[in-house]
């Protein structure tokens, strides 16, 4: 199945470092392999009681009344809350680190007000002595609903006369508000050049429509929270989250508290992938705590996770591209209609930034539609929006290559975006690695390996994710034994506390064992935006680098003072302070450290960043498949993932991100989807029928890390967490096409779908 002699490979690593680029064991490793690590569901406090949430059985309904009296009378129930316990959000907006959003969307998602907009929408909650009691008590809450017709797809929701989810949602049309009541929250457009002229210049035009199903991030740890509303009015929350500051700010806004009265401690997190950025149960648990006088823990069931938290948008996408016979792309047009779920905010803007980003095309038009439907309010899922878009674009690009009779990687190379290429949404690319990724794919042994046998095919695809910067803070304290403690606020989903520590260690010339990193609560470190957007190694890493430099600069001054020389004559090289004024003064970091307290006090370095200089990342796949033509089952024979990491701070973690994103992309491509019945009920809300890949469904995932240094980071790092999920569905579609000559336009490409496409191609009708 895989090449037994595989060694992970790296291309274009141009600079070597002492710590950066090595593979130390993570600092939280012992805790994680012994079961000691505390995840949110493991938290316990004296007097802890348990909460449970009542969720709507209807996809769309008006709430006529809620009677909680029987639940309140249950002997084990300590508190009940409904939407009546939270203030209306009115027109307030909040900034959760990625732009302004209406607080009402979040607050009304946390507990439904007036209407329920999806099956699973939270309606009320109880807290009781035990989880079993709380679940029993939920059955005693009587809610009277007036069911309304649901709309379940973007095209359905966009039709004239469609059932409307909100009575105050009007379309923002090309940036301008309108009076049109609609399920389309916004329609925006990006334009570059002259699209009509572009298509007129084309020798070959291809145009297709695609559909992708709703899929969930599928983190193994369900959402959980423990909240204590203390007697002094301060709220403490321990929660599984990618963004403790987001939880703090949103919870404070919903509960009308100043943020100084709310402290959020991020527990170890069992996966997020974007799905643990939104707020769901923290304000509810806090209110239950206030009403009961106890700390309250809520842990979601798996069904609640699938039905009550944000999956990623399903979408309907049209792509049209024009190319000249010599292989030059001249025009590209896309229409991206994305399902936002119950509230506006589908990740269609990021999709529009990525859909054609890999290619330098002079004439582009992209129309994006943010459409509400009666499904859970969508959340980010690893490069949100881009995977759907690439499924469309890469299909057309590969089809163009086939029609022109050129190699699919060559066609991409001939049009690849480079430094200076302008994206249709505006920005010009700085130094990027699109060409290098494609060249690495072309020269990789996988690309030229023979693939023989019937029903076998090879596919390729690439994708782009812009990555984020956003604010991060970091403090570093010097210990008397020459070690440092480093404090940061980015929940560690994949080893980042170590890759951040490695960057500080590199600056200070310390071995990684001498750095003790911690992820801390919102009272203990400066504002830090979410762990997401592939930003942590880049931005929090940069904060650590600057905090380390701050330490270094303070210690230089301290050495100078000890030596009685000018600080500008003291240098720091490979962990040693050297006085360069003709004297022989030298002192190692470990020699200076114990002298700090007595010579002016402890040294603490700090930094707060919101960095520009973000480096986008390109990713690519080569995949070989074999199709069983009698069942439509797709077996992956070989898979190689390519990605530009800029500089792999910890290569094992970069490989891990590439492999994990690939696995998710494969699940998205081949099996995962929300089966909705016409009433808007998810029929497969369990991990039995929401089918994520098992260890038996995947081969080894070979990786090739390309390093085109990002000029915006001292070590050249680019974010790597996300771009890797983008190519797999497109690469698999290409491979399936080459194996059995069918054109899959819908995700997932499950066995039934592949079989039906084969039948259609063969004209089988029975």
């Amino acid at each position: 199945m895989s090449d037994q002699s595989y060694e992970p490979s790296m291309v274009l690593a141009t600079k070597t470092f002492d710590v950066v680029g090595t593979r130390p064991v993570r600092h939280d490793g012992a805790d994680k392999v012994t079961g000691r690590a505390i995840y949110g569901a493991d938290v316990t406090l004296p007097g802890l009681i348990h909460g449970a949430v009542l969720r709507s059985p209807h996809a769309h309904a008006r709430i006529k009344s809620i009677d909680t009296s029987k639940a309140e009378a249950h002997p084990q129930v300590r508190a009940v809350v409904t939407s009546a316990d939270i203030a209306d959000a009115g027109d307030k907006t909040v900034d959760l680190g990625e732009g302004l959003t209406r607080l009402a969307f979040i607050r009304n998602n946390v507990l439904a007000r007036a209407k329920v907009l999806y099956r699973g929408h939270a309606v009320a909650a109880v807290a009781a002595a035990s989880v079993h009691d709380a679940l029993e008590a939920l059955n005693l809450i009587e809610v009277e609903y007036e069911p309304l017709p649901p709309v379940l797809t973007a095209p359905e929701a966009m039709k004239e006369g469609a059932s409307l989810l909100h009575d105050d949602l009007t379309t923002t049309e090309l940036g301008k508000p309108t009076d049109k009541l609609s399920n389309v929250a916004s329609h925006f457009r990006h334009e570059k050049g002259d699209i009509e002229k572009g298509f007129a210049d084309a020798d070959l035009i291809l145009e297709k429509e695609f559909d992708t199903s709703t899929v969930h991030q599928g983190y193994i740890e369900p959402h959980n929270t423990t909240a204590l509303w203390n007697n002094d009015g301060r709220i403490q929350i321990w929660t599984s989250t990618q963004g403790p500051f987001t939880i703090r700010d949103t919870t404070a806004a919903i509960l009308e508290k100043p943020v100084s009265q709310v402290r959020v401690t991020p527990t170890e997190i069992g996966g997020g992938f974007g799905g643990k950025i939104p707020v769901y149960i923290d304000p509810v648990a806090a209110l239950l705590s206030k009403k009961s006088g106890h700390p309250v823990k809520i842990v979601m069931s798996r069904a609640d996770v699938l039905e009550g938290t944000g999956p990623t948008p399903g979408s309907h996408i049209k792509v049209k591209m024009g190319v000249k016979n010599d292989g030059t792309m001249v025009a590209a047009q896309a229409s991206l209609a994305y399902e936002a779920g119950a509230f506006p905010g589908a990740m269609v803007i990021p999709a529009s930034m990525c859909v054609f980003a890999a290619y330098d095309i002079p004439n582009v038009m992209i129309d994006g539609y943010d459409v509400v439907v009666n499904k859970p309010s969508t959340a980010a899922y690893r490069a949100p929006g881009a995977t759907n878009a690439a499924f469309a674009t890469e299909n057309i690009v590969s089809a163009m290559a086939e029609k022109l009779g050129v190699d699919p990687l060559d066609l991409r190379l001939n049009n690849a975006s480079k430094k200076g290429t302008r994206r249709a949404d505006g920005p010009k690319f700085p130094r990027i690695g699109c060409v290098e990724v494609l060249e690495a794919m072309k020269s990789h042994p996988h690309y030229s390996a023979p693939l023989e046998g019937p029903n076998r095919g090879r596919g390729v695809a690439i994708g782009f994710w812009f990555n984020a910067g956003l604010p991060s803070a970091c403090n570093i304290a010097v210990n008397a034994d020459g070690s440092i403690t480093l404090v940061e606020g980015s929940p560690d989903i994949g080893g980042t506390r170590t890759s951040i520590a490695m960057q500080a260690a590199e600056v200070l010339g310390l071995p990684i064992e001498n750095v003790s990193p911690s992820v801390v609560d919102t009272d203990s470190v400066g504002y830090t935006a979410v762990t997401g957007g592939s930003r942590v190694t880049f931005a929090t890493g940069l904060a650590a680098i600057r905090a380390a430099r701050d330490v270094r600069d303070q210690m230089i001054k301290r050495a100078a003072r000890i030596w009685g020389v000018d600080a500008d004559t003291v240098e720091f090289e490979k962990g040693v302070f050297i006085s360069r004024n003709g004297t022989e003064n030298r002192m190692t970091f470990a020699e200076l450290a114990p002298q700090l307290a007595a010579t002016g006090g402890p040294i603490v370095g700090r930094a707060g960043v919101n960095p520009p200089g973000v480096g986008g990342s390109f990713a690519g796949n080569i995949v070989d498949v074999e199709i069983d033509p009698e069942t439509g089952k797709v077996t992956i024979l070989r898979f190689t993932a390519f990605q530009d990491a800029g500089k792999a701070i910890h290569p094992s973690y970069v490989e891990g991100q590439m492999q994990g994103g690939s696995a998710q992309g494969i699940g998205w491509a081949l099996n995962e989807e929300y089966f909705m019945n016409p009433d808007g009920k998810m029929m497969n809300s369990s991990l039995l029928d929401y089918r994520m890949p098992t260890s038996l469904d995947l081969p080894m995932i070979d990786t090739c890390i390309i390093e085109v240094a990002n000029p915006g980071h001292p070590f050249g790092a680019r974010g790597v967490g996300e771009a890797n999920i983008i190519p797999p569905p497109a690469a698999l579609a290409h491979a399936i096409h080459n194996a059995v000559d069918i054109d899959m336009r819908r995700l997932p490409m499950n066995p039934v779908a592949v079989m039906e496409a084969i039948w259609q191609k063969n004209g089988v009708t029975d």
Binding site: P222, G660, L687, S695
Partner: protein, 160 residues
């Protein structure tokens, strides 16, 4: 008030006793009554494997075992894998091989992998993947997990 049941069992090599309701799963009792929170809940219906423990010599999903069934049995959880202060080779190899990212599936996978290596000292890649198919991991794509199990097998063979 309905009565709880008293259960005596051997857990990670030690005799323990607890009270539980018949409806409580072994997973619930391990975590909530016995304070062993290493075993995780991911789905509560046997489909993710995060709650895997050794039960009477076999790996099982403890969410589908009633705590009362533990009477007289032998149970090993992730907390019982290390030998005192020394990590077991499977734990060490997982750390060196970066076979975990978020780590929440790791306890279940460690228990399952150790059970495999205790009965098959040199499993093939296919065998490892088949054995672990009841343990979902969403972060790693399983590649480094499989390689780390292979590395642990080698390490354990050298130690013999």
């Amino acid at each position: 008030m309905p009565r709880k049941v008293q259960v005596q069992t051997k857990l990670n090599g030690e005799q323990v006793e607890f009270l539980c309701e018949p409806r409580q799963s072994l997973l619930e009792v391990l975590r909530d009554e016995l304070g062993l929170t290493g075993t995780k809940e991911g789905c509560n219906d046997g489909n993710c494997g995060a709650c895997t423990v050794m039960f009477d010599g076999r790996i099982v999903t403890s969410c589908l075992v009633l705590a009362v069934e533990a009477e007289g049995k032998e149970i090993t959880t992730v907390e019982g894998i290390a030998a005192g202060n020394e990590l077991h080779p499977i734990q060490q190899c997982f750390l060196e091989g970066a076979a975990l990212q978020c780590g929440v599936c790791t306890p279940g996978i460690l228990v399952a992998a150790k059970a495999l290596l205790d009965q098959d000292s040199n499993p093939s890649e296919e065998k490892i993947r088949f054995w672990l198919a009841n343990n979902l991991c969403r972060c790693t794509g399983y590649d480094k997990i499989v390689r780390s199990v292979q590395a642990a097998a080698e390490k354990m063979q050298e130690a013999r």
